[in-house]
């Protein structure tokens, strides 16, 4: 057995595959094809494309955060519940009062960071499998939230709705915010020491530790980033829905879908390889599918079946070249 055989096979084969570009092209072909096929040419105009971009925002922000934890070799199943917590907290604290916007946003970010810290701490310090750790934290959050609120709580003031509905020209603020967050994420990963350490930790934790990297801190920091992103998604949803309810995160299946788009975007589920542009392209693919299903008038339930199949096939499309063991 040569050295090459002992390396994960994916690492050698995937390098030649520009996943983000392929996903982008696939999305474009699907979208344009569906618009031409159904004759809805207005979807190809500026407003149609802006609508498509707007569909990406909610899932996009949380998926950027999920990218960080997955790159670190961890995972976060608590994001959907944290999104609900943030949305409810924001609208409950604001109660329609513009003066409370800043305190509410601050509170949401502090709570989110604390949840991320707990997630990361349980994973890194207590040695709990990340799936179980974040699932457990998610259950704890959801239980507390649903025990305290059972419907839309409070409301957000007009000014705060600008986050979801405001535009510069025709481009919504929220789309620009997503783009800005993606650029910041990409810079963090590519150009900072934290980014390099993150890839090292996810790629080979023992090796990284032996090389002097504080892998515990990296894992915790990745979880804090992920939870902050989930908090931002919660704020965005509260702004869009004008109020928060304890089921907004779960209804959006943000936990599973954010993981799915990260993996579809070419980030290795075991960590250490991938990036934010792949994730964003995965989000684009999901948003495109939604838009295409709408154009074709596919009913809700078959849509769900096809979505499940597409998640599997999209991952299979490149996973099939992987020669290593898969469980």
């Amino acid at each position: 057995m040569t050295l090459a055989d002992t390396l994960p096979a994916s690492r050698r084969t995937r390098r030649s595959l520009p996943v983000p570009l392929l996903l982008f092209l696939a999305s474009a072909v699907l979208y344009v094809g569906a618009a031409l096929y159904t004759g809805q040419l207005n979807q190809l105009g500026a407003s149609g494309l802006v609508g498509l971009a707007q569909r990406m925002v909610g899932l996009g922000i949380v998926a950027l955060g999920q990218t960080f934890v997955i790159l670190a070799g961890s995972i976060d199943l608590s994001v959907a519940n944290l999104i609900s917590v943030s949305a409810v907290l924001a609208s409950f604290v604001m109660q329609g009062d513009p003066a409370m916007i800043a305190p509410a946003v601050l509170l949401v970010l502090v709570v989110s960071a604390a949840v991320g810290f707990v997630n990361g701490g349980v994973v890194a310090k207590l040695g709990v499998n990340p799936l179980i750790a974040t699932l457990g934290v998610g259950l704890i959050l959801q239980g507390l939230l649903s025990a305290s609120f059972n419907n839309f709580a409070g409301s957000v003031p007009e000014a705060f709705q600008g986050l979801a509905y405001g535009t510069i020209g025709i481009i919504p603020w929220s789309v620009l915010a997503l783009l800005a967050l993606a650029i910041i994420g990409a810079l963090l990963l590519r150009s900072t020491r934290f980014g390099a350490h993150l890839y090292a930790t996810g790629g080979n934790m023992d090796g990284a530790r032996l090389a002097g990297i504080r892998t515990d801190r990296i894992t915790i920091l990745a979880h804090v980033i992920c939870s902050l992103m989930a908090g931002l998604t919660g704020l965005y949803l509260a702004s869009r829905l004008r109020s928060g309810a304890p089921w907004v995160g779960r209804d959006g299946v943000y936990d599973l879908e954010s993981i799915a788009v990260v993996v579809i975007g070419g980030t290795l589920l075991s960590g250490g390889r991938g990036g934010v542009w792949g994730t964003l392209a995965g989000v684009l693919l999901f948003a495109t599918l939604d838009a295409v299903f709408n154009m074709l008038g596919v009913p809700a339930f078959p849509k769900q079946v096809m979505r499940g199949a597409i998640v599997i096939l999209a991952v299979a499309a490149y996973a099939i070249r992987n020669k290593g063991p898969v469980a």
Binding site: V122, L126, G127, V128, N129, L131, I132, A133, L135, G136, V137, G138, L139, I140, L141, Q142, G143, L144, L145, S146, A147, V253, L256, I259, A260, V263, L269, A300, F301, P302, K303, Q304, V305, M306, R307, G308, A309, I310, V311, I312, L313, V315, A316, A319, I320, R321, N322, P325, V326, A327
Partner: protein, 329 residues
């Protein structure tokens, strides 16, 4: 020879495993004592068998899930398959008791198909099982909704509900004995024998422990993995048939059960990512989880706090296991 070699270290781990099982059993006894203090009739034979009856679906699911977990994977599609079983049962029987027999056969065939697809997607398409079974979860939920037209209601025929609902009366010693408990005993014994007494079971442990080593020593890794997913799916169908006997037909009978089954296994000392675990632990874990839910109910806590308690017990179970493994070196 190769299989025995792969299985050998497991017996050294066996002793620490034994201690872990005891923990789940001890926690269960403490929780059950709490239940009995609040509601003394839980100590009567009828109370005990009724508790077991209601815990049976979860325990059966845990008995299936453990095969996939020990093999190193996850089966997130179980809950959706439970829902599909209940809804499919109602659509297939169409309120006619005469349809029950073949309906159950068809449901098991569906389960077999789902397990095979899960296994093939993981082994042939090489999709990690957490994603593969998640996709299956989404698809099965969609299929169940399509089949039922979105808002199923009513009840299954009485003979379909026999397994979940019927109780033998005037049984010596215990007085009454639910059919579901018979199912639980049969399923648990079958799972214990299959996972811990057969060569197949040793192969499941081997591929979960170290798939490459297992493959090099001649285990057919992919066939074993597919079989584990099939067993899990068949357990889910069994759990669905039991749950169909409990209450009415609805679209959320199975939701969240896959996580509860995984939680039950984990509480019982099954190691995620494979290689370690026991059926007794999984069943004890399921009983523990169910006792916890019952206790919270009796304490009159709001229903959602059930989730919170489940989260706390999950993290503490795994954290204590990890801590003891570290201490043991």
């Amino acid at each position: 020879m190769s299989v025995a070699a792969a299985g050998e270290p497991k017996w050294n781990g066996g002793m620490s495993l034994f201690r872990k099982i005891n923990i789940a059993v001890i926690v269960f006894v403490i929780l059950y004592a709490g239940i009995a203090i609040l509601q003394p009739n839980y100590l009567e034979p009828a109370g005990i068998t009724n508790f077991l009856r209601r815990a049976t679906p979860l325990a059966v699911l845990a008995c299936g899930q453990i095969f996939v977990l020990v093999a190193g994977g996850f089966d997130l599609s179980m809950g959706a398959l439970v829902t599909l079983t209940v809804i499919g049962g109602s659509m297939l029987t169409d309120n006619d008791p005469g349809n029950t027999a073949w309906a159950i056969l068809v449901l098991y065939a569906i389960g077999l198909g789902v397990g095979l697809v899960n296994g093939l997607v993981v082994t042939v398409l090489r999709v990690p099982s957490i994603i593969a079974t998640l996709g299956m979860l989404l698809s099965l939920n969609g299929v169940a909704m399509m089949w039922s037209g979105g808002s199923p209601r009513g009840y299954l025929p009485d003979n379909f509900r026999f397994f979940g609902r019927f109780t033998f009366r005037d049984v010596p010693l215990v007085g009454s004995f639910p059919v579901a408990v018979v199912v639980l005993v049969v399923v648990a014994l079958a799972a214990w024998w299959g996972l811990q007494k057969t060569v197949f079971g040793k192969r499941v442990f081997a591929i979960g422990d170290n798939p490459r080593a297992a493959a090099l020593s001649g285990v057919r890794v992919e066939a074993t993995r597919i079989a584990a997913f099939v067993i899990s799916a068949l357990a889910a169908v069994t759990g669905g048939i039991l749950l169909g006997g409990f209450g009415g037909v609805s679209v959320d009978v199975g939701s969240g059960l896959e996580l509860q089954a995984i939680a039950a296994c984990v509480i019982g000392g099954v190691q995620l990512m494979g290689g370690r675990g026991s059926v007794i632990g999984a069943v004890a874990g399921a009983l523990t989880l169910f006792a916890l839910f019952t206790l919270l109910n009796l304490l009159g806590l709001p229903q959602p706090l059930k989730d919170t308690a489940q989260g706390v017990i999950l993290i503490s179970a795994v954290a204590s296991g990890a801590w003891r493994r570290r201490r043991a070196g």
